[in-house]
């Protein structure tokens, strides 16, 4: 199989619901197991799980629930973990503002999106008003 460097191949995936507080905990634990399996070191595991926790909470609180997809991805030279958080909530009106530290609409610290972005290697956000939001993050294994 030919692998393009821009489009990593998905080796395996799993989709989990994010409908409650308990689902957020389950999602964190699933991400921890995946990061362990990919042999990320402890600091990297902690960063990935923390980012997942922030994004899962966002999906629950701002997106009124949704799903998290966990994927083992690989391209020619490296392996990584990709997480996709998807909801059909109200969408984000001003994405660049939502990515700023300290901007919060749900009485939080406003660290969820910008913090998760700092903790991961790649970060992408797509959002449409009235349709929902999809956040995709990847952490590559060094």
């Amino acid at each position: 199989m030919q692998l393009e460097p821009r489009k990593p191949a998905v080796v395996r995936d799993q989709v989990l619901p994010l409908k409650s507080d308990a689902d957020v905990v389950q999602a964190r634990q699933a991400v921890r197991r995946a990061a362990e399996e990919l042999k990320f070191n402890l600091v990297e595991q902690t960063k990935i799980v923390t980012a997942a926790s922030e994004l899962a909470r966002n999906t629950l609180l701002h997106g009124r629930g949704g799903t998290m997809k966990v994927e083992f991805v690989a391209d020619l030279s490296r392996r990584g973990l990709r997480l996709t958080f998807e909801d059909r909530g109200p969408g984000i009106a001003d994405i660049s503002r939502a990515l700023q530290d300290g901007f919060s609409t749900a009485d939080g610290l406003g660290l969820g999106l910008p913090g998760a972005r700092r903790l991961m290697s790649e970060f992408d956000i797509q959002s449409k008003l009235g349709e929902g939001t999809r956040v995709t993050v990847v952490r590559w294994k060094p």
Binding site: R32, T46, L109
Partner: protein, 120 residues
């Protein structure tokens, strides 16, 4: 609903967080601790987070809130046992927990609390 136990040890309230907390559990702990400080007239709180493998902005905020609330109620809170990987992640996340007293372990934390109590 589950609750995180709050133990009394001499003049001190002791909390050891040993489960992966969901948000409501963290909020419940915040409420329980605040009322325990008032009811039991405690002036010192020690929170052991050595078993926590992750502290995100929500749990971080809970720790900061407990510290701030206890201060207003004339009590000192110290958070002990944070794992190095958790500390590294917290700072990168953007959370530096200003106003939260920390110590390396329970022993150091108790020393810090005793000193703070003697000073007042």
């Amino acid at each position: 609903m589950d609750r995180i136990p709050i133990l009394r040890m001499g003049e001190c309230l002791l909390v050891t967080i040993q489960v992966d907390m969901h948000d409501q559990l963290a909020l419940a702990l915040q409420d329980d601790l605040t009322s325990a400080i008032t009811k039991q007239r405690t002036r010192a709180v020690l929170i052991d987070i050595s078993a926590l493998v992750m502290v995100d902005s929500f749990i971080g905020r809970m720790l900061a809130n407990i510290s701030a609330m206890s201060k207003i109620l004339d009590a000192e809170t110290v958070v002990v046992g944070m794992q190095p990987a958790v500390a590294i992640t917290l700072v990168e996340l953007g959370l530096q927990l200003p106003g939260v007293r920390t110590a390396l372990n329970v022993d150091q934390g108790m020393k810090l609390l005793r000193r703070a109590l003697r000073a007042t």
